[in-house]
């Protein structure tokens, strides 16, 4: 289909919705920002969209824990419709706070089954950075999951992170191994040469340098870095040093892959 439609979900404290909508539009989607209250009023409206994005921000002030209150709201009100959305083969992307929401609803890594939402049965979470504070810095990311539709295998990209609670932790080694075996690690933090490392290469102390997770279908992905903040070259911190500034910058990969997937599969 040519007419790809994306919904960017707003809520109290969400603040990256505009630039996310803009990036989706640049990638060729018809994107709209919609408040979650409207979706709760009329869940069936999701049928009109093929891509759903939980954008970044501080939903409900990150009170209790990052993304927790919004996750609570999503599970209470939108579990069924989201389950269906994912089962229908559609795409869900969570960025930063959106990733936190996806983790805390269980959408990713989805080890309880694709699209099975829950507030308790978790084995993976996102918690305070090892540094103990919010940080805005740029990181290199290396794809780890072949199957994830948002990822271009082998292509290292450079994006900014801006968060205080971005450290991936699992309840035990088994969970980590399962995620690795099942190809759920979508991106890892690496250095300019592609090697994993300590701070600041891995900016928050995430286990196994995990920056992004996908689910078993590869169609839902949550990531801490912000691809919408690096779609034009002048957003890149080295842009005045770069010789080649043709086309779009690294973050566009994520949105373009999503839109192309929908074009080809719907």
């Amino acid at each position: 289909m040519d007419n790809v439609k994306a919904i960017v979900l707003r809520a109290a404290g969400i603040n990256c919705d505009m630039e996310t909508e803009h990036a989706l539009r640049l990638a060729g989607a018809q994107a709209e920002r919609i408040h979650i209250n409207r979706v709760i009023d009329n869940p069936a409206m999701l049928d009109n969209y093929q891509i759903m994005v939980f954008p970044g921000g501080f939903s409900y002030g990150d009170d209790v824990a990052a993304g927790k209150i919004l996750a609570n709201q999503v599970v209470r009100h939108l579990s069924d419709i989201l389950h269906k959305f994912i089962e229908d083969g559609k795409l869900v992307l969570g960025i930063c706070n959106g990733f936190q929401v996806m983790i805390k609803t269980g959408i990713v890594p989805g080890l309880n089954g694709a699209g099975a939402l829950s507030l308790t049965e978790h084995v993976v979470t996102l918690t305070n950075n090892d540094s103990g504070k919010f940080e805005d810095r740029w990181v290199y990311l290396l794809p780890g999951a072949e199957r994830c539709v948002f990822v271009e295998p082998g292509k290292r990209i450079y994006l900014p992170i801006a968060h205080g609670e971005g450290k991936i932790v699992t309840n035990n080694e088994d969970t980590l191994n399962r995620m690795k075996q099942q190809g759920l690690v979508a991106f890892r933090y690496v250095d300019a040469d592609g090697n994993e490392g300590g701070f600041p290469v891995n900016p928050n102390g995430s286990q196994d340098s995990i920056a992004a997770l996908t689910d078993l279908t590869g169609r839902a992905m949550g990531m801490m870095p912000h691809p919408e903040r690096c779609v034009r070259w002048t957003q890149h911190p080295h842009w005045t040093r770069l010789k080649n500034r043709e086309g779009f910058a690294d973050g566009m990969t994520i949105f373009a892959n999503a839109v192309n997937y929908v074009k080809e599969n719907f």
Binding site: A12, G13, N15, C16, M18, E19, H22, A23, H35, N37, R38, G56, G57, F58, Y60, G61, D62, D63, V64, A65, K68, I69, N72, Q73, H77, K104, L119, T120, E121, H122, V123, V124, T125, T127, N128, N129, D130, S131, G132, K133, F134, E135, D136, R137, W138, P160, A162, V169, T170, N171, H226, E228, R229, V231, T234, Q235, P237, H238, T240, R241
Partner: protein, 964 residues
């Protein structure tokens, strides 16, 4: 109703970063007996649910099953061999708890039924043997702020219950304050007792007004006058008539600000200025559709008492200025400038009633971080300045830039419009903030003015912003302003100035019961805006607010009778003529005096090399890298960042100014910078102010701003201006503002002053801050693709110095690290400075410039070092290429003089001719070349190398001081 207590802790094996940070702070206090700290979150919920539901709340909502444990009830001291001390920190009754509202909403989503109250607290377990005195020190110095929090020691003797969330209901009692017939002394006593900070002349004016009316004022009337007439709100000092004596010569101003700062704007008469000094922010053109507005405010006194809350509400408050400008702007960038005492000052040197500068700094940075980041507004520009005279009066400047449609730049409230308060509820927080911030601080302020501290909740403000912009675009209101200093009193009073208004105070939604009508009227509770709405638009606008859970309430209407009428449950509690309220304030005549100081230059011996001096300057707090602060701010949200605060090959070079691209549609940019140099003020505030203007402008020019489209903001922070010498310094600075604005063609569009920044210690000594004038500059970049950064780009490129280096080490960092002040303060030649700025701009937009950096603090040597380590390439320079005045011969002056209006420019060799042609008739010279070798080499002639240092060492020296 049952009171449930939930305790949430980190699971074994998962780090407790909160506990770790506290432990680090305890070690900073030199208390070694604490071996570990465990931190926990406590939730106190009064609700109807049962135990089974409480367990769900704990497991599903309040804790994370992967990394946290929960406990319902009060857990005691942990088992184990180690001694343990418990400390709990609770918000005082009536202090806003930002997390409460979110938890309530989530409980409602879970179907919790009736929930009476939600309070959160922090619990700490100190492991190790801690004396009572140490426990007290840790609690007061690190964990809790007495202004807003209570400390409880569970299990210890005298263990108290947490403060009650419930407050007694208010019984209406109309209070009159008899003033007719009182003596002067009695009038002043009333002003003092009621914290009104009104002086005798003002009290007499009020007395005469009421004697004429043949009645006594009510308490709310007096409070309204005190708020409206406070220095904070009307700037009576800058508007007063001044008799100045400058080195014996007499100068008279009928109105100081009108004849200096405003006059420059008027004389320049730029057609791109849309609204200046009239609204909550100054407004200038951006493109055909939009304008940008800019405002910088200070929030000094509250930040001294409660650094976190004070700074958070400082940024929260200034964001509401553009939101309340014209018909409301969308905030697109923040800027923050702080002044502190040295953070490594000894604890015993900090006077009673004052927080340690390190604690203030950490709190202020965290406050701005948490509020600014939550609002989703990038903090792109800032500065930190250290001087021990800021010990008791730290300065916190917060600024915000907004984008506003050109046809929405003016308000139009009309009689018959409804007065609607939108956003947060009103509480007892921030009472007397406006009057308090107009007075001087004393060691007792910590206790007396705790109520002046406000607590912010960014998400309330963000929700309000989201809906207000929708309402604005649907043309559903006629006017908007923010509730800042003075609360509803100022907001309604100002909006209804030409109309008159009546307000029913019982309709104002409250956070809790118990507020008197006066408290409701003057509360400075955060996150509130007032709008004027036509009755026929009421339903439509309420629908927008309701759709996103934003509270909005009709509290009165604008009348047309030019009176301010206040009622509570139908009883009139106050009535004032708008004319008296806004025009009744008496005019002041002040005396000012300035005598140029007789200072001399030190005689410092010529050295073989200046490696050590360069290291010392790079390591001085004012010059050192501010990365620790910058990284904590989200400077890229909204996706508009073009020039970020830190760029270069390792993303750690200090950029001169910030550039954002506020609209997705085109490549036009807005640039921001600031200039401030209190050190020069110790020699002469005139040259200090001019240097600040030059610095702010050349910072903008360095990144590619069009110098013809720069506007300025002034923020004065001064001491007690009833002293002629203090006011004299302010007059000198204001004269420079006029001369600088005229010379550069850069009008002032907004400003604010904070006077009386003095502290009276318990032994009676006074500490005044240095004369501090912050110049903020905003400019337009016609095409952001032409912007340049300051990092060296390519070995083989040539480095030029543009602008004359003079023998001007007075007030410099070189003198500072050598313990001197000197006399030769940098004197800006505005005419040539403006010309240089234009040529540099031309060179940048024609693509001749690979990098550009301004020479400022630390002079040429520091600027070269920064360019080199930011770019990851060395620079080899020779001072003989530096264009210098005839009296500037010594190596130290050539290296470190802080002469203004100088730029270092990197040029590709093939562009040399074109660049040189552009610089014709401007002092410029080739000082060096970018080299592969990672070194800074500066020669002074063939035989003499005066700087020879590895870049890594320079960068480390520069990064170390604030790498916390």
């Amino acid at each position: 109703m049952k009171q449930w207590r939930f305790e949430i802790s980190s699971k074994q094996g998962f780090p407790d970063v909160g506990g770790r940070d506290v432990l680090e702070d305890i070690r900073q206090l030199n208390i070694d007996s604490v071996e570990d700290v465990v931190s926990e979150k406590v939730y106190l919920i009064e609700a109807d649910f049962d135990r089974a539901f409480a367990e769900r709340v704990a497991g599903e909502l309040l804790s994370d099953s992967v990394c946290q444990d929960w406990h319902i009830g009060k857990s005691g001291v942990p088992a184990g061999p180690m001694a343990a001390t418990l400390i709990e920190v609770h918000l005082k009754s009536g202090v806003t708890d930002p997390a409460a509202e979110s938890v309530r909403a989530a409980l409602s989503d879970m179907g919790a039924g009736k929930v009476d109250s939600v309070r959160t607290a922090r619990k700490y377990v100190l492991l190790g043997t801690v004396s009572d005195a140490e426990r007290e020190t840790i609690a007061r110095r690190i964990l809790a702020n007495d202004c807003i929090e209570d400390v409880i020691y569970p299990g210890a003797p005298g263990d108290a219950d947490p403060p009650s969330p419930h407050v007694e209901p208010y019984q209406m009692k109309l209070t009159e304050i008899p003033i007719c017939g009182l003596s002067d002394a009695q009038l002043m006593q009333i002003s003092k007792e009621k914290d009104m900070f009104l002086n005798l002349k003002e009290m007499q004016t009020i007395q005469a007004y009421y004697c004429d009316l043949d009645r006594e004022p009510t308490d709310v009337e007096l409070e309204t006058l005190a708020q409206t007439w406070s220095e904070h709100c009307v700037h009576k000092t800058l508007k007063s008539s001044v008799d100045m004596e400058l080195d014996g010569k007499k100068i008279h101003f009928d109105n100081l600000i009108k004849e200096t700062i405003f006059r420059a704007t008027k004389d320049l008469n730029k057609n791109w200025c849309i609204s200046v000094f009239a609204d909550n922010a100054g407004v200038i053109e951006f493109d055909d559709e939009h304008a940008v507005c800019f405002k910088v405010e200070t929030h000094n006194h509250p930040s001294a008492l409660d650094p976190y809350g004070g700074a958070a509400t400082g940024i929260g408050g200034v964001i509401r200025d553009p939101m309340g400008t014209g018909m409301g702007a969308m905030p697109v960038a923040n800027t923050d400038i702080f002044c502190f005492a040295r953070p490594d000052m000894k604890l015993e040197d900090v006077p009673k009633g004052v927080l340690h500068p390190r604690r203030i700094m950490k709190g202020v940075v965290a406050g701005v971080r948490d509020y600014g980041n939550r609002m989703g507004i990038p903090t792109v520009n800032g500065a930190l300045y250290f001087d021990d005279r800021y010990l008791s009066n730290p300065l916190v400047f917060c600024g915000n830039v907004g984008l506003i449609p050109r046809q929405k730049c003016f308000k139009n409230p009309q009689a018959g419009n409804l007065v609607i308060v939108v956003g947060g509820r009103t509480g007892r927080d921030g009472i007397h903030g406006a009057t308090f911030s107009s007075g001087e601080m004393t060691h007792e302020h910590e206790t007396i003015f705790s109520h002046a501290v406000q607590i912010g909740n960014a998400i309330t403000e963000k929700k309000m912003l989201d809906t207000l912009l929708q309402a604005r675009d649907a043309n559903l209101y006629e006017a908007i302003t923010d509730c800042g200093a003075g609360g509803l009193s100022s907001a309604v009073g100002e909006m209804g100035e030409k109309l008159g208004a009546e307000v029913d105070l019982e309709k104002v939604p409250l956070k809790y019961a118990g507020l008197s009508y006066t408290e409701i009227w003057i509360s400075e509770a955060q996150e509130r805006m007032v709008i004027a709405v036509k009755p026929e638009n009421l339903d439509a606008i309420m629908a927008i607010f309701n759709a996103e859970n934003v509270e909005a309430t009709v509290i009165g209407q604008f009348t047309g009778d030019k009176k301010l009428t206040l009622r509570y449950n139908g009883t009139q509690v106050g009535q004032l003529e708008m004319d008296f309220l806004h025009e009744g304030i008496c005019k002041y005549d002040r005396k000012a005096k300035w005598e140029t100081k007789k200072l001399s230059e030190p005689v410092l011996p010529e050295k073989d090399n200046y490696n050590d001096d360069l290291h010392k300057i790079l390591s001085s707090y004012n010059v050192a890298s501010k990365e620790w602060v910058i990284r904590q701010y989200d400077h890229e949200v909204q996706g508009g960042s073009v020039i970020k605060p830190l760029m270069g090959t390792d993303n750690d070079g200090p950029m001169d100014a910030a550039v954002i691209r506020p609209k997705y549609e085109h490549d036009k940019g807005v640039s921001l910078s600031c200039g401030m140099n209190p050190c020069y003020g110790d020699i002469d505030p005139y040259w200090m102010a001019l240097a600040g203007i030059d610095e702010a402008i050349r910072n903008l020019v360095c990144v590619g701003t069009n110098p013809e489209r720069i506007a300025l903001l002034d923020n004065y922070c001064w001491g007690d201006c009833t002293r002629p010498e203090m006011l004299g310094a302010l007059v000198r600075a204001s004269q420079a503002c006029y001369d600088g604005a005229m010379g550069f063609g850069a009008p002032f569009i907004s400003g604010k002053d904070s006077l009386n920044n003095e502290f009276v210690c318990d032994d009676g000594t006074r500490i005044a801050i240095p004369y501090t004038l912050l110049i903020s500059a905003i400019g337009l970049v016609d095409d952001i693709n032409t912007c340049v950064t300051m990092d060296a780009k390519q070995p083989g490129n040539l480095i030029f110095a543009v602008g004359l280096t003079k023998n001007e080490l007075g007030g410099s960092h070189f003198y500072k690290v050598n313990g001197e002040l000197g006399a030769n303060v940098p004197k800006t030649d505005v005419k040539s400075a403006a010309q240089t700025a234009k040529r540099i701009h031309k060179a940048i937009i024609t693509g001749l410039v690979r990098s550009c950096h301004d020479c400022s603090e630390g002079g040429l040597a520091v600027a070269l070092a920064e360019m080199a380590f930011a770019g990851g390439y060395g620079i080899e320079a020779d001072l003989r290429g530096l264009p210098a005045s005839d009296d500037c011969m010594k190596t130290d002056s050539l290296l470190f003089s802080e002469s203004n209006s100088r730029y270092l420019v990197e040029v590709d060799p093939p562009n040399y001719d074109a660049f040189a042609r552009l610089m014709l008739n401007i002092p410029f010279g080739q000082v060096g070349e970018v080299i592969k070798d990672k070194k800074l080499l500066i020669h002074n002639g063939i035989q003499k190398t005066v700087i020879d240092v590895e870049l890594n060492a320079l960068k480390a020296a520069w990064q170390k001081p604030l790498a916390w």
